[in-house]
Symmetry: C2
Subunit: 216 residues, 2 copies
DNA sequence: AGTTGATGTTACCAAGCGGTAACCTTAACG
DNA sequence: CGTTAAGGTTACCGCTTGGTAACATCAACT
């Protein structure tokens, strides 16, 4: 039987990191701070300085051990077959966007992390985190780029931005215009809109290609 | 000739409000605060409390006298002819989105206001501001709704969200994936993507309508 | 001229923040 | 057993924040 030692660095660090997530999720970006985390973890804040070297180190450690997006991208990438028929690509993109939407919605701490980033963009750390996500995201795009003529990077960046913003605001507002953000029905409207956009793009692209072929 | 009085409430309030915009634009959301504004305006902070009743009142006054989006919506709405041919509607929507993009990019204080809102969503004030924008936005949608089957509200909300998020991040990052946010070329890619999305939707909708007609 | 009320200033407060020095306390080791 | 170093705690610091009370000053009007 395992004895829980009272003096155990591993355990303490774990508790701090957990508290970090909790605090971010519960109290929001603004109130997140070393003091709040320490209090929440039931741990002396000095330990945070010792183990993580302060707020930045803590945040970094927190991100490193579980920032979901890069993992999510990698996982998604795996699930995509290598030789994907062109006509299915729009579906893959909309599936990616929608899965991202769902995962992001489900992860409060990740949302708050992004929110934090948005108000601390001048800091080196915030930039690095964004950069990190960007890379993993680029991997995905490189392998999946479908509508070559349609600047898939720009389009998907727009879609991901849209989803990001909507999820973030949903934590603060009940609705956008007449879209109810508290109900699944509201989010289904959004998901449907996403699918429609991608499928329309595909249709339009097909038509353009058909025209080109005709000219030849 | 007009004499500038040293004791002049109007003037002082004006200076405070200007300073408010400057501070928001320059130092960002985080550092914006009563103290910073007072210092910047070269005015004693007590006056802010007297004239505006504190931070909330100041913010509200600031917004009320010039929050651009509702005005922008109204202006745009005026410019749209009443009997708009259906085939031009996608163009109107993309024009709206793109003009919004440009205006929003040009207005640093407005950006910072939104950023502030994102981190203070729990407050009553933030909610009210959002609500205010929403109403003016809904007016627009009501009058313009084109693709009736395509849930134009959801689609345009997505697009506006996308633009909002991208502009906000552009203040902090040089690029998204390989889109250079510092150059006009980068933003043109985004504008093009927006146009493509709307026009594709139109094409897809046309095709669907054609099919329906065929069945009849 | 003198009262009065608006305008502007000084000085202060409590609370919260990030951060650190110095101190105990325990586990593990020879 | 006793030393040692890591784990954990106490108490403090300086700084900034939002907020207020009390005082000084000027302009206008009877």
């Amino acid at each position: 039987m395992k004895v829980v030692k009272r003096r155990n660095r591993q355990m303490t660090m774990e508790r701090i990191l957990r508290a970090m997530g909790d605090v971010m999720a519960e109290r929001g970006t603004e109130k997140a701070g070393i003091n709040a985390v320490a209090e929440r973890a039931g741990v002396n804040k000095v330990l945070i300085y010792r183990y993580f070297g302060g707020w930045n180190g803590l945040l970094e450690a927190y991100v490193q051990r579980g920032f979901f997006l890069s993992m999510f991208n990698d996982k998604f990438l795996e699930s995509v077959p290598d030789n994907l028929p062109a006509e299915n690509r729009s579906k893959v993109w909309s599936e990616y966007t929608i899965q991202f939407l769902r995962e992001f919605r489900a992860r409060k701490p990740s949302q708050e992390l992004i929110r934090w980033e948005m108000t601390h963009g001048e800091t080196e750390l915030a930039r690095r985190l964004a950069e990190y996500r960007d890379r993993s995201y680029k991997n995905l795009v490189d392998k999946l780029a479908p509508y070559t003529d349609f600047d898939p990077i720009a389009i998907t960046s727009l879609m991901v931005s849209a989803v990001t913003y909507m999820v973030l605001t949903s934590a603060q507002r009940d609705h956008i215009v007449d879209i109810d953000l508290r109900t699944e029905a509201g989010w289904e409207r959004i998901e449907t809109a996403i699918r429609r956009i991608y499928s329309s793009l595909n249709i339009a692209l097909d038509r353009e290609n058909a025209k080109k072929a005709e000219v030849k």
